[in-house]
């Protein structure tokens, strides 16, 4: 049997999987703080007995794009966006997770949360007192004016970390985690902007162009499958001698 058909099949398969990655990026084009997934494929040798029979194409998730998304002013004091490098640390059941989504909420028991996960301070989740006014500084320092008092007091500093894109992966819920599973150290120089949210860093144009190119690539692969079929048919005809 000819192997060409199978090789073309793996390539067509790869195209469809890649399309899903781009479809997911585009679906999240308006998701606050979303980081685009990158995708690439590589050649995978299929080992035979002593020699390689063929090479298949295989999709490989090539990590996450950490490029800056657009900052959008919201005017809400609990919205924060990171300018430049950095990630906000949150507490989850299995250690720390990281996000660029700065849409903070206060729980009735006065904890700062994002997506239902407590926001980490330098020494654990940030717990607020009953307060009248709240301010978040550019270094992540949260200060409040406790109820009935005149002066602002500092209650904690939002933990921001700086992890290289190559060391980050997404967990099943879409939060960023470190590859090693170890919590990342605090980055001192990350800059927060209060009253803003960072949009998704997906550029619709890039994703659409990738979609179109994958579409054409798929057609090419299917043509190759058809060519493989034609080849084996003419081979059969030759053997039959008709």
């Amino acid at each position: 049997m000819d192997r060409l058909g199978y090789t073309a099949m793996t390539a067509a398969n790869r195209t469809m999987t890649s399309l899903q990655v781009h479809a997911n990026n585009l679906a999240n084009v308006n998701t606050t703080g979303f980081r685009a997934d990158l995708e690439q494929s590589n050649a995978l040798a299929v080992n035979g007995y002593g020699y390689d029979t063929r090479h298949m194409a295989q999709v490989q998730n090539n990590g996450i794009s950490l490029s800056q998304g657009p900052l959008m002013p919201t005017g809400r004091e609990l919205d924060v966006a990171i300018k430049g490098k950095g990630l906000i640390a949150l507490e989850s059941g299995n250690g720390e997770v990281y996000t660029r989504n700065g849409n903070m909420q206060i729980t009735p028991d006065l904890q700062l949360t994002i997506n239902g996960r407590p926001v980490m301070g330098e020494g654990g989740p940030i717990q607020l007192p009953e307060y009248d006014r709240l301010h978040i500084g550019s270094d992540g320092m949260v200060s409040v004016q406790p109820r009935g008092e005149a002066m602002m007091t500092e209650v904690g500093r939002i933990k921001m970390v700086d992890v290289a894109a190559a060391d980050l992966i997404k967990d099943a819920t879409g939060m960023l985690i470190t590859k090693s599973g170890q919590p990342a150290p605090i980055a001192e120089d990350s800059v927060l902007v209060s009253g803003h949210l960072e949009g998704s860093n997906v550029t619709a144009i890039d994703q659409l162009v990738a979609t179109m190119s994958l579409n054409r690539l798929f057609e090419t692969q299917v043509k190759m499958m058809k060519a493989a079929e034609d080849l084996s048919q003419s081979g059969n005809r030759m053997i039959r001698g008709s």
Binding site: T15, M16, T17, L19, Q20, V21, H22, A23, N24, N25, L26, A27, N28, V29, N30, T31, T32, F34, D37, V59, Q60, N61, N62, G63, T74, G75, R76, N103, Q105, I106, T107, P108, L110, N115, E130, Y131, D132, R133, R147, G148, I169, K170, D171, A172, T173, G174, K179, S180, A204, Q207, L208, T211, M212, L214, N215, F218, V222, K223, M225, E229
Partner: protein, 261 residues
């Protein structure tokens, strides 16, 4: 079947919901005391086909796995409690809260609802009610024929009663605040109800302990920014189109495969 089809379908559905929210905001651009809604998007779960960091063999690890996202969903809508524009009306019964805080009104069932709309009137009994006729809490009665109705910045209500020359105190309008106002349940008609996530209402006097002050003769308009709503409308529309394009591409691939092979 191609899962890209389903992923872009979630994108279309989420953008559609976002558009409904923006439409509602724009529809209420002139509603007194209306607070705009904001859609919160969240990416759906990731199918991790190959775990990154897994051992490929005894020596090598897989450098990066394959994680396929499955789309987007609307995680919820949030009320944004920024201040609206103040519109002077000159009407003595129009009150606005400058800063945070809610008025309380009582439903016929005895439940207390919260509102930021201070468009008040008197009912047949002379009791101060909101536009739906629900009495303010604490209830304040203005005797028939009273003159120069005045509400102080701390909510103190005074008026000159018939046959008197000096103003008399009729009561004090108190305000309430919540730990997490975004967690209030919007009932429509500018009314909110407390929920577990909003926390308990904290009652106080206007101007004290973080409560806003009350201003008479002014109404707080909606906090919807028309230009902002228009821009997000365009962004949503374009995102919808882009997702529709991917849907088309995924379906085109299937079609081509079916026709060719």
């Amino acid at each position: 079947m191609s899962s890209a089809l389903w992923v872009s379908k979630t994108g279309l559905a989420a953008q559609d919901k976002a558009m409904a929210t923006v439409a509602n905001n724009l529809a209420n651009v002139n509603t007194t005391g209306f607070k705009s809604d904001r859609v919160v998007f969240e990416d759906l779960f990731y199918a991790i086909e190959v775990q990154p960091g897994a051992q490929a063999d005894q020596i090598n690890t897989v450098p990066s796995g394959i994680q396929l996202g499955s789309g987007v969903r609307v995680a919820g809508t949030q009320k944004v409690f920024t201040d609206g524009n103040l519109q002077p009306t000159g009407q003595p019964m129009d009150l606005a809260i400058i800063g945070s805080g809610f008025f309380q009104v009582e439903s016929p069932g005895g439940e207390v609802f919260y509102t930021e709309s201070g468009q008040l009137q008197l009912n047949a009994e002379g009791v101060i009610v909101n536009t739906q006729g629900l009495p303010l809490v604490p209830a304040i009665e203005v005797p028939n024929g009273s003159k120069s109705f005045t509400v102080g910045s701390d909510g103190m209500v005074t008026a000159i009663l018939p046959g008197e020359t000096l103003p008399a105190e009729l009561g004090q309008i108190t305000l309430v605040n919540f730990t997490n106002p975004a967690g209030l349940e919007a009932l429509g008609g500018n009314l909110y109800r407390e929920t577990i996530s909003s926390g308990e209402p904290v009652e106080g006097i206007a101007g004290e302990e973080g409560m806003g002050t009350i201003k008479q003769g002014v109404l707080e308009g909606s906090n919807v920014q028309v230009v902002e709503a228009m821009v997000s409308m365009i962004a949503i529309q374009r995102a919808y189109e882009a997702n529709a394009k991917v849907l088309d591409a995924a379906s085109g691939m299937q079609q081509f495969l079916n026709q060719t092979v």
